[in-house]
Assembly symmetry: C2
Homo-oligomer: 144 residues x 2
């Protein structure tokens, strides 16, 4: 939590009671919770907190790198008819996705066994980075 207060100070973010409780809820969570779940947990300490504040601060924390999103794929469903085994390249900025044939990736190996009880079906690999468009250096001068 001291780390949290320091990062708020660095980023020029007021360290409000709501923010501290929200961040602590996320620190203690082991279940990768979503906004509604965090709202419930924050409400235990601050019954008057609003859902809007939870969403607003989640976004603030993400923008400042205080917390992370579990996946680049939240939001609308995305689909494909391609049923050959393959992985994806994903642009972290525009979220375009490109196919990466499975045979192009060497098989995955673990150094230890998976936790007891989990029944593994397959490994999915995503290459995250910037697509050609998003990696291109900004044009000099006018931006439009």
């Amino acid at each position: 939590m001291q780390w949290f207060r320091d990062r708020c100070a660095e980023a020029g973010l007021p360290c409000t009671h709501q923010r501290q409780v929200l961040y602590r809820a996320l620190l203690e969570a082991k279940d990768h919770p979503g906004p509604e779940m965090l709202y419930e947990r924050v409400k235990r300490d601050i019954p008057s907190v609003s859902l809007g504040t939870v969403y607003r601060n989640i976004k603030t924390f993400l923008d400042n790198g205080l917390i992370g999103e579990v996946s680049l794929h939240h939001g609308p469903l995305r689909l494909e008819a391609n049923n050959t085994p393959h992985h994806h390249l994903v642009c972290r900025v525009c979220r375009k996705m490109f196919d990466l044939p499975a045979e192009q990736v060497e098989s995955i190996h673990l150094r230890e066994a998976l936790p007891k009880g989990f029944h593994l079906e397959r490994f999915v690999v995503e290459a995250h980075g910037l697509c050609a468009g998003c990696a291109a250096p900004k044009r000099t001068g006018r931006t439009h």
Copy 2:
């Protein structure tokens, strides 16, 4: 497309004009489109199609394995404070997620270079399967 008609017959699904156009749109798409995008594309051929029909048939196709979802993570945002490098085990049924420390996965190697122009930042690995709860055999007898 013949494959599509055969699979519809197998599954006992009427092979409607809407379904054929929707499936063809997905076959021809290389951009992993979402429901709104598919709706636009189907409307070119069937201007009267409704967005509800697009969503309904997407779900029908998914349930019957005719098409695939790109990721298990669409839907509400999920978050974590854990900023150590790590991957995840993901249950395909209940979508619970468990951490998998990065050092437990041997580094990823490609057999060919990535497509020109993509700037790789990191590989993300997901172990998909069934969690202990979802893998447990159904109790015999009553289901509740």
